[in-house]
Symmetry: C2
Subunit: 226 residues, 2 copies
DNA sequence: GTAAGTATGTGGTTATAACCACATTTTGAG
DNA sequence: CTCAAAATGTGGTTATAACCACATACTTAC
């Protein structure tokens, strides 16, 4: 199986496990590595799943596409992080979103559904896995709340500033790359792409930001709040 | 201590515990009952917390108020449910939102922070608590995603329909009460209150819905989608 | 390098929501 | 019941985003 166990032991899901525990966990989780091309759908909305994915290479976006073709991007999942764990752990809840490869990807698929079953197996690997998944889940919660903060301002500029401020804090720098192209950023902020481009243009003109492709720089001295 | 243990054993947090386990858990959690009046802030944004709240009576809303007085309501927490568990379980993360009593409330405050500590105590009550908290957390995730769905349509009507459809599904009826007054619904959907009233008026006129106070009825035969 | 294709930006128009002022209805206290 | 206060609704105006068409820039394959 083409996966680096040393790397896995550093991820939030398998943190703190011994080699033996990791092997036991991977076996119970029916771990398997899958590959996906850019823009290929990994998990489809509407299908129930007991599997979550752990990103080994590439990145994944979580999005919803309504019947009129409107896309809304909920989050972006980087290498080492997991997705769909919520649906895998809530029995009978069909996926409401698509998980899509944002680039060519290697994904470790894990059948985690059993963790939410009643039986109290106290194998140490299981306890550690559960503890880790709790940490992963509450973190994911913060990510989702974050998006709520980024989309609650009523103006495009407000949303852009909320998003960029929070990225800047996270990256601990005024200069950083974002994981989205313009269309994706628009779909993340729930605004029209051309309107977003226009607003970025205005903000550039006013000297608030530099924005070139997915690289941004905040010019706080120009009166950037937060 | 003024709390009904039989009731607690039915909540998602303490589900499946024996009396002894519940006592051990409550003691470790330094459980205490607090009372709050309508609109009193229970937990303030900006303060770190290792406590979560379990609603014994009344209900709580989770909201964010920016420096210009704009309110955004993230979720509504009913009797038996918990709030702030995310922040309590993520060390060093200050609360980003306020938890506010939506009516006069009795809240069981629980110091749950220790659950995210490293040490592997395998007391059964602790395992059950952890397992339950995982279930609670992933559920909370679905609630947060739900709000994303409700606020992603670009028009007020789209948001109202998304929200009401999902309430209708949840309540398994075309007729139901919502936990918000108009201003709160507007703040939940991130729209202006008067614009919301106007849109509800139009939808009433078109025969799509009946809406009186917080009681709604969907008239699907009139072409309500989903 | 060139061409084709993709991504990004911009002007113009229209639709819609925000905002303001105020009318009407409902609620609650006495 | 009466009054005051709060909640809800409505008309009118303005600000802004959506939408459309297209220009420009950038990327990739050849």
């Amino acid at each position: 199986m083409n996966m680096n166990k040393e790397y896995l032991k550093k991820t939030a899901v398998f943190r703190g496990m011994t080699d033996e525990e990791l092997d036991a966990a991977l076996s119970a989780l029916r771990a398997s590595v899958k590959e996906y091309e850019k823009d290929q759908v990994i998990l489809h909305a509407g299908t129930p799943t007991d599997m979550m994915g752990l990103v080994l290479e590439g990145s994944v976006r979580i999005e919803s596409n309504d019947m009129w073709g409107n896309r809304s991007i909920f989050s972006h999942v980087e290498k080492g992080q997991v997705f769909a764990e919520t649906y895998a752990l809530v029995p009978d809840e069909a996926l409401l979103v698509d998980a899509v490869a944002n680039q060519d990807c290697r994904i470790l698929m894990l059948r985690i559904g059993f963790l939410s079953e009643e039986k109290q197996d106290t194998a140490l690997w299981r306890l550690k896995l559960m503890s880790n998944m709790l940490a992963v889940s509450v973190r994911k919660n913060l990510v989702l709340s974050g998006r709520s903060f980024h989309t609650s301002p009523k103006t495009i500029r407000g949303r852009v500033m909320a998003y960029l401020s929070s990225m800047s804090l996270q990256k601990e720098s005024d200069e950083f790359d974002i994981p989205f192209d313009r269309q994706q950023l628009a779909d993340y902020l729930n605004v029209d792409r051309t309107a977003l481009s226009k607003e970025l243009g205005r903000m550039r003109k006013e000297g608030l930001i530099d924005a070139r492709k997915n690289h941004f720089r905040l010019r706080r001295e120009k009166g950037y709040p937060l």
